[in-house]
């Protein structure tokens, strides 16, 4: 058996470099761009408004020093990074956004958006505290309606029901496709490394043509299936199988994932928002279009929701489906909700499955790499 990398990864290696140039061309051609941060941002509405949704990368360490000029140092690095990019024009995607969409997912972001609104036109969607209560669902629908109105006004368009239905179909198809990509990771050996899986999912935000992205993923899936047939893997057969969860860990902030793979583990699933979270459920097409969209996004199992039982149940199920040997839960320093939820999750998995669990609290710096390596290696030795 040989360890190798799928050839189709070449598309995804180039996605981000390409994006920086294509965004400029798109803008020159008059395309409207909406930047968004959280996976709860209803992308169907942006597409239906004839604009392009763009995830604003907040995964780089570089702008943090600028972010810290205005924000407390002991803040979540993701927030400091987002803000640092916003005030420095170092991020082309922020720079080219005509409108920025934010969600009040945590107190840090909520207050940061107040500062950010001085640099860009913004629509900040106020999230209700829970996705379970009917009153909260009804309230969220009004936020989605308000956002739709802001988009219409900003771009001087009417967002029709048909356009929402159309956008929903495109994004639902993409969700199903990404799910079948994830399923290939159930094989042993894994046909794709976890870092490459992350790269594909992250690139999704940088390929603006949905059909182009779908074609690239289809090609990759075909290659992965062939590899599985031949027993080819990106990591050795029998490598410890790890599910990564917690805060978003996009490219630039993939430190823990890298340390895991360097220590010989196979990352078989990335549950967080840089990974599969946004692709896991579809918009129910049988519902009234705007309602369907609102319901799908509100149901996102994020730790900012209370209670958040869905995430616990989901992880227990993923441990079985992906035959995982352990779960690694990552928290950014200063992220209180994921930090506390880590304990809840640990106890839940302990009780339901006895799954080995490692909680890592870190930031975007490399200063703790050695210490993290020891903890990760000890964790892998423990589940050996």
């Amino acid at each position: 058996m040989s360890l190798s990398r799928p050839l189709s990864m070449a598309h995804f290696d180039m996605a981000i470099p390409h994006a920086a140039t294509s965004i400029k061309q798109m803008k020159e051609a008059g395309t409207k761009v909406v930047g968004h941060y959280c996976v709860m941002a209803p992308q169907e509405l942006i597409l239906a408004a004839g604009a392009v949704p763009m995830a604003l990368c907040a995964t780089k360490e570089e702008p943090i020093a600028d972010g810290e000029k205005a924000l407390p140092r002991n803040f979540c690095p993701l927030i400091k990074s987002s803000y640092g990019f916003a005030i420095t024009d170092k991020c082309p995607f922020f720079l080219y956004s005509d409108l920025v969409m934010g969600e009040t997912t945590c107190d840090g972001k909520k207050k940061m958006f107040e500062l950010m609104s001085q640099c860009k036109p913004m629509v900040v969607m106020n999230l209700p505290p829970s996705y379970e209560r009917e009153a909260d669902k009804a309230y969220w629908l009004t936020e989605v309606e308000r956002t739709k109105a802001v988009l219409e006004e900003q771009f001087n368009v009417t967002i029709t029901e048909e356009a929402i239905v159309e956008a929903t179909k495109v994004l639902n198809a993409e969700r199903r496709l990404v799910q079948s990509l994830a399923k290939t990771m159930q094989a042993d050996p894994v046909p794709l490394s976890g870092l490459d899986l992350l790269k594909v999912l992250w690139s999704r935000n940088f390929v603006f043509d949905r059909a182009e992205f779908a074609a690239q993923v289809e090609e990759l899936i075909a290659e992965l299936e062939e590899r599985i047939q031949k027993g080819e893997g990106a990591l050795p057969k029998g490598a410890k199988r790890i599910i990564v969860t917690g805060v978003p860990t996009g490219l630039g902030a993939e430190k823990v994932l890298r340390l895991l793979e360097e220590s010989g583990a196979a990352i078989v699933y990335i549950e967080n928002c840089a990974g599969m979270k946004q692709f896991l459920t579809e918009v129910d097409e049988s519902k009234e279009p705007l309602q369907g969209v609102a319901d799908k996004y509100l149901a996102t199992p994020c730790s900012c929701m209370s209670p958040n039982k869905t995430r616990l149940e989901l992880l227990a199920q993923l441990v079985d489906e992906y035959n995982a040997d352990g779960v690694v839960d990552i928290t950014w320093q200063g992220c209180h909700t994921y930090n506390v939820e880590s304990r809840i999750l640990r106890e839940y998995l302990q009780e339901k499955k006895g799954t080995p669990f490692l909680h890592i609290e870190t930031d975007y710096s490399q200063g703790d790499s050695e210490q993290l390596k020891t903890r990760i290696q000890a964790f892998l030795e423990m589940i050996a």
Partner: protein, 278 residues
């Protein structure tokens, strides 16, 4: 000593000291020296010396030494080792060996405080790690922390235990847990005229409190033993402070400093047994 005997060796290259343990399946021979500027060179010298004294003439060493396993902070730099394992696995194994009588029950907790970090490790009676916690980046409550504060008080680390005993009844609380802040807090207290005895006793209590809070999640059932290992376990006053904080007895095995090296040698031994070449 028969040159036919096989040996395995564990080396624990810690941040302040290097520990070595030689094992022949029956007995351990242990030694240590400060890590110095080049832990790798220190470890090599130590190994050569130990092999000469305990095992055989250097010409025989090749045949009799079956494996060398490295652990600790500097484990990856020891290029002559056959395998590197984390100190968590090795301390677990070593502590289980050192306290075998105590480990009748399914689970025990080891509190290990070393030069740079503090850990809590849950093991079964075979020394297998079931769960663990480790302090994060900062050195609060570790050997390094003790060293810095001892210096601020004009003391040697080795004096701390005795001095604390004299001040236990009037221990002065220390609030800062960051090494840098604790140092200035200690200096401030000295200026206020608080006795060194009371300050040291207070420091020990705060270390105990911190480590107990860290391992709280791992505490085993009432009857299960709790072991204290690592360099800082020589400080009996801290051991007592931990007992007081936990309200449970804590066992400090006699060779507690060597737990990591012993564990590494034991792992090497077990792996050799499964190896048909021997």
């Amino acid at each position: 000593m028969s040159t036919q005997q096989s040996w395995t060796i564990g080396i624990d290259a810690g941040s302040t000291a290097i520990k070595i343990a030689l094992y022949n399946g029956q007995d351990f021979f242990c030694g240590q020296r400060p890590s110095g500027w080049s832990p790798r060179q220190e470890a090599q010298e130590m190994l050569d010396k130990a092999v000469k004294e305990q095992v055989a003439a250097p010409s025989e060493a090749e045949k009799t030494i079956k494996a060398i396993y490295a652990t600790g902070y500097g484990r990856v730099s020891l290029h002559f080792a056959n395998k590197a394992m984390t100190e968590i696995a090795c301390h677990g194994k070593g502590a289980a060996y050192l306290a075998k009588e105590a480990l009748a029950l399914e689970k025990s907790l080891i509190i290990d405080i070393g030069g740079q970090d503090a850990k809590g490790i849950v093991i079964n009676n075979q020394g297998r790690v079931l769960d663990f916690v480790m302090n994060d980046k900062c050195a609060a409550g570790t050997g390094r922390f003790l060293q810095v504060t001892a210096q601020a008080l004009g003391l040697e680390v080795t004096d701390l235990s005795t001095i604390a005993e004299e001040g236990t009844d009037r221990a002065h609380p220390i609030n800062a847990m960051c090494t840098v802040f604790a140092e200035s807090e200690v200096i401030g207290l000295l200026h206020k005229g608080i006795s060194r005895q009371a300050i040291v006793a207070g420091l020990h209590q705060s270390i105990a409190r911190r480590v107990v809070a860290m391992v709280a999640r791992l505490l085993p059932r009432e009857e299960s033993p709790i072991l204290f290992t690592g360099g800082v376990s020589c400080n009996q006053s801290i051991a007592k402070a931990i007992e007081a904080e936990l309200q449970r007895p804590v066992i400090v095995p006699s060779q507690a400093t060597y737990a990591g090296a012993i564990g590494a040698a034991l792992y090497a031994w077990e792996d050799q047994k499964g190896d048909s070449r021997t």
